[in-house]
């Protein structure tokens, strides 16, 4: 297990290197610079700013300087938020996004798992059809349609919940629900498929033949195998929750990392863009590793990959 983890961490290094290089040159080759948008800024001040951030140096020198700083764990100062380090900005904005992601995931699991299990146990019944059509609707009703509709209904018409912001618990309900419903629908479908697959296995028949009560068969024997596809899905789901939060954060005006990232890209805040992309990449790699570890502990067959 330790060997497996070490191997994965080693594999992550070239990936992160490629991401850093790609992002670095992509941002620099794009038209526009961080100080172009400032109004009426005298030429000499602009030059001073650029030399302060080392932007007047040749591109490859900047690249190696950046990589060197990166190796020391230094993401550099933000070009737009003067006096702020990129790492400070990430530390400020990420907890908000993480909170949103966590609540959404909890809602998704709480809705998706029971729905999937019930649909699988009552296969081809009215329950099954209703649940699965609802799930399909949930998948096809994108967050940017569902979000505004929820605001319209719960905030504008009923006035129960605030439409935007991120201050109190009430603010968190609609955004988490929007994102959670989408993933809940996905998880319901995966759980159903996984459970159906498992319920046909010989060991389930054996358990039933031994006279184990149906509830016990499901909860003790079937659910472990049935959840495998869900666990596998959690890796990409985390990545999706992150990028999905871009949309949610812009609908509900939440000061999370997604909004910082998009604004930074628009502002040509080079270090902020690079820092956020690398942070996201690390996050996805770590979460995928965690998911693989969970998977290996459920299903011994995947351990030797």
């Amino acid at each position: 297990m330790i060997k497996f983890i070490l191997l994965r961490i080693l594999q992550a290094i070239p990936t992160l290197f490629i991401i850093a290089t790609l992002t670095f040159f992509m941002t620099r080759l794009a038209p526009g610079g961080p100080f172009d948008a400032e109004k009426n800024i005298p030429e000499e001040i602009k030059e001073k700013l650029e030399s302060h951030f080392g932007l007047e140096k040749p591109l490859h020198t900047q690249y190696f300087l950046y990589l060197g700083n990166l190796l020391r764990g230094d993401l550099g100062p933000s070009f737009k938020y003067m006096g702020w380090e990129v790492s400070e900005l990430i530390a400020k904005a990420f907890p908000v996004s993480a909170q949103l992601g966590l609540f959404s995931l909890l809602i998704a699991l709480a809705l998706g798992l029971p729905a999937g299990v019930v649909a699988a146990l009552r296969k081809n019944s009215a329950y099954d059809y209703c649940l699965m059509i609802t799930a399909m609707l949930g998948i096809c009703l994108p967050t940017f349609v569902l979000g505004p509709l929820l605001i319209l209904f719960f905030s504008s018409w009923l006035g129960w919940l605030p439409p935007l912001g991120w201050y109190s618990f009430a603010d968190m309900v609609l955004p988490s629900l929007t994102l959670g419903l989408f993933y809940g629908a996905y998880i319901a479908r995966l759980t159903r498929a996984g459970m159906l697959d498992t319920l046909n296995q010989d060991y389930i028949r054996t358990a039933r033949a031994k006279g184990a009560p149906p509830v016990r068969v499901v909860l003790r024997h079937a659910i472990k195998g049935g959840l495998l596809p869900v666990v596998t899905f959690l890796g990409p789901a985390f990545a999706g929750l992150i990028s999905g939060s871009f949309i949610i954060e812009s609908i509900f005006f939440i000061p999370g990392l997604g909004r910082f990232f998009v604004t930074a890209a628009f502002n040509r805040d080079y270090t902020m863009v690079l820092g956020t992309v690398l942070f996201y990449a690390c996050l996805i790699i770590i979460l995928n590793l965690l998911v693989d570890m969970i998977q290996a502990s459920i299903d011994p067959k995947t351990r030797n990959r």
């Binding site: 994108p142 319209l152 990545a239 609908i251």
Partner: protein, 298 residues
Amino acid sequence: MSIESAKSKDFISENPDGSSLWKDAWIRLRANRLATISLYFFIFISLLTLLGPEIATSSYEDQNLNRTFAPPGAESLFGTDNLGRDLFARVLHGGRISLAVGFLATSVSLIIGVAYGMTSGYLGGKMDALMMRFVDILYSLPFTIFVILLMVLFGRNFILLFVAIGAVEWLTMARITRAQTLSLKQAEFIEAARALGYSHPRVLFRHILPNLLGPVIVYATLTVPAVMLLEAVLSFLGLGVQAPMSSWGSLIKEGSEKMDIAPWLIFFPGVFFSLTLLALNFLGDGLRDALDPRAAKE
């Protein structure tokens, strides 16, 4: 086209009285009511958006400042927006863009993915390992983030949109094709074709390609809605097509900003978009069951 290739002598019939795999699949698909309805609905939507300008009474960009925020009614079927533009015409026009992006980007990913996967699987050995390792590395890149970055940095370029989305979606296609090619390579009829002295390209294109189309078509059907969703996400972030052009994503964005005054502005594009995605997903599921009888049996 697929029916044509099904009739070619290279195909192994599933049952003795000569009905082909594709014919069987069609019969199975027709038996699936949800998939059939989805198919007809999708054809209907495609025709509607293609013939849109002919049906709609006004153009998608005509402004009429005397009739802003008019609710849906006889004069304009879906109402009008803040500039008095007819929403019905805009929804049809937007659908055309959304569907075009969906299909073009899927085609890009289909061509790259199938060519890459077939090459990798057919060559096998070290080359295969190398090519698949490359796909693995690309897989771990946060691609949505890159697509967003690309669109922000290089402006809203329509061609770039296809390239960017196509570049994300080909990876899974390549994996599926490779797995299929690997298993087909072992099949006796491929061995027979090689023994007859057929060239590698001939074996690849006449014997392997037609036989791996099933899973590829299924995945392509499911890629179209995924691509449309990604395009809509970009448009929603203000990175997609530009006004006065519209896609369903950008209409939904506009609608969400003005929904307090005019809820129909988000309702109609949202419904059209969601129903189309729904139909495509049901169709993809139905095709999978129809083309992969083993999966359908459970």
